[in-house]
């Protein structure tokens, strides 16, 4: 059985339908990302799995236990990083981590946890004297100190500088390599592309797309865009027959949207050589996850290309 299984989850808050039948599962050792705009239901999903909130309908299982009633046995095996920072300002870094470490049966050494998030230099500092990003890193240390089998990270790298973010990515990857299962929410496409084996895009409490980053790219934007600037030689520009109907010109750039860029490129370069045109800044672009995301979350929904 997969460590995280969600089936047809529904949840409403008074007027808001936060989740409208969400289903996915996360395999052992996998990093799964939830992507979606503000209010999409990411935190709601994660907090149901952490046992904080009760779903109205559907099932949620973590390590084959019901998170709402799993109690201590489940909590010993999961690590939590909440979206909102919650630390005691009066304690220092070491005391904070130690207070959490002693609650778990197989905790890693306190200093090791501190080093994992690169806070060794701030070990003795009071939490209230830490910067926002340092506090966030401390919380990540609290999430991993119990050496959990399943780790929930709700927007873990929000507020971190690029360097710290990369360190956290390394940490997440090394946890993955050690066989931990990770459920992550994020607004950073780059982060999701780097970390997630699979992801789903959640909009208004519904999953709009699911798969690996590559699968999603294949599924949503098979078309590649070839772009270049023509360097003319006075001759009239007549594009080769095979691509002529796909050409779009805009501000001196030429764009070509094609399903398979290889023959198009072949034809184009041969044509340019033959007529003595230059193809400046020639690039082939695959749609990024970000493009797909923006396409799926745009309101109103545009037609699929």
């Amino acid at each position: 059985m997969n460590p995280i299984v969600v089936e047809n989850l529904t949840k409403s808050y008074r007027r808001v339908k936060a989740l409208q039948g969400v289903s996915f599962s996360v395999r052992k050792g996998e990093t799964y990302a939830l992507l979606g705009p503000n209010g999409a239901g990411k935190t709601t999903t994660i907090e149901i799995l952490e046992g904080y909130r009760k779903a109205d309908g559907g099932t949620a299982r973590v390590l084959d236990m019901d998170p709402a009633s799993g109690g201590r046995r489940l909590r010993e095996k999961i690590g939590i990083v909440l979206q909102a920072t919650a630390l005691e300002p009066e304690l220092n870094v070491r005391e904070t981590v130690r207070a959490f470490a002693r609650l778990y049966p197989s905790a890693i050494p306190v200093d090791e946890a501190i080093e994992l998030v690169d806070l060794a230099h701030a070990r003795g500092k009071r939490v209230k004297a830490l910067s926002g990003g340092q506090q966030r890193r401390l919380e990540i240390a609290l999430g991993v100190v119990g050496s959990p089998e399943v780790l929930f990270l709700d927007e873990p790298t929000t507020g971190l500088d690029p360097d710290a973010r990369r360190k956290i990515w390394d940490l997440v990857r090394s946890l993955n390599d050690a066989g931990k299962t990770i459920l992550l929410s994020s607004h950073y496409m780059e982060e999701v592309e780097v970390l997630a084996h699979r992801l789903s895009i959640l909009v208004d409490g519904k999953i709009r797309a699911e798969g690996s980053p590559l699968e999603l790219q294949g599924q949503f934007g098979a078309r590649a865009t070839i772009s270049f600037k023509i360097q003319g030689n006075g001759q009239e520009i007549i594009y080769p027959y095979g691509v002529r109907d796909k050409v779009r010109e805009h501000q001196g750039w030429t764009y070509l949207a094609v399903d398979d860029p290889t023959p198009a490129l072949n034809e184009l370069t041969a044509w340019a050589m033959r007529h003595g045109f230059g193809l400046q800044h020639l690039t082939v672009n695959r749609p990024t996850l970000e493009d797909i995301y923006l396409q799926l979350t745009a309101k109103p929904q545009p037609e699929t290309r």
């Binding site: 909440l82 919650a86 009066e90 609650l103």
Partner: protein, 263 residues
């Protein structure tokens, strides 16, 4: 073992909050010194005790209630508002252990604050410690610490935010302390309705019983139901404290929430 660690954890947090230390441990001492110096430490005719002998247990009561009721309620509410309680709830720490640690910590603080006030009274103002009623004082102290902790948790459970909790604890403790005759020596009868309020609520019972254990005129160990002009009896007050404590604890555990309030 976990309970011990968590209790130390809470004690450490207290020690690092100067405002809390001031109100719980320093203020009662300052008041004792001020009152004794203002009123003079002569025997008061009606009761035959000195000012310090009267105020020492009274201010000990005040410090104790500040710790168990006000500080516990406010610090717990702040921990809830800042998400600390929610975060704790997501760890394997059993909720009961965590709450117990908080209660034990404030009780320890309360007892230390009482020892401090009584110690200063004994050392500098010739306050008499009565051997025969000392066990009664100690039992009262422990029971009252638990009762007022339960009331503190009840206030936290009833209020949405720490701001409300601060307002409610202050708005209840100070007036109640006055109508319960903690601060004033009653040289005049209080209005009936005030008396009635004080009689219903637990503070007066605690403070009068605790003060009684400091009255040299009263004899006996105090663990009797029926007292008199010369015999000490704390069991009636003790019973009222226990009833309030159990009632508040049951209600608080029923209403208590761990998450910050959304609305």
């Amino acid at each position: 073992m976990l309970l011990l660690f968590e209790t130390f954890h809470q004690l450490r947090l207290f020690m690092r909050r100067p405002a809390a230390v001031f109100f719980v441990a320093v203020l009662p001492l300052v008041l004792l010194v001020i009152f004794t110096e203002i009123f003079g430490n002569d025997p008061v005719s009606a009761q035959g005790v000195t000012t310090a002998q009267f105020y020492t247990p009274a201010l000990a009561v005040f410090g104790m209630v500040t710790a168990c009721y006000t500080y516990l309620a406010v610090s717990t509410a702040i921990a809830r508002d800042t998400g600390v309680l929610k975060r704790v709830r997501g760890t394997p720490l059993p909720p009961l252990t965590y709450i117990s640690a908080r209660v034990i910590a404030v009780s320890v603080i309360a007892v230390l604050s009482v020892v401090l006030v009584v110690g200063v009274g004994v050392a500098f103002y010739k306050v008499e410690l009565l051997h025969h009623s000392l066990p009664a004082s100690v039992v009262l102290l422990i029971v009252a610490a638990l009762t007022f902790s339960a009331l503190g948790m009840l206030v936290t459970a009833l209020c949405k935010s720490s701001d409300t909790v601060i307002a409610v604890t202050n708005a209840t403790l100070l007036p109640l302390a006055f109508v319960s005759e903690v601060f004033v020596r009653p040289w005049r009868e209080l209005p009936t309705w005030m008396k009635w309020i004080a009689d219903v609520l637990p503070l007066k019972h605690f403070s009068s019983a605790f003060q009684a254990t400091f009255k040299p005129a009263l004899q006996g160990h105090g663990f009797v139901w029926q007292g008199g002009d010369t015999t000490l009896a704390i069991l009636p007050q003790l019973a009222i404290l226990v009833a309030w404590g159990i009632g508040a604890a049951v209600l608080a555990s029923y209403l208590f929430r761990w998450e910050p309030n959304a609305g």
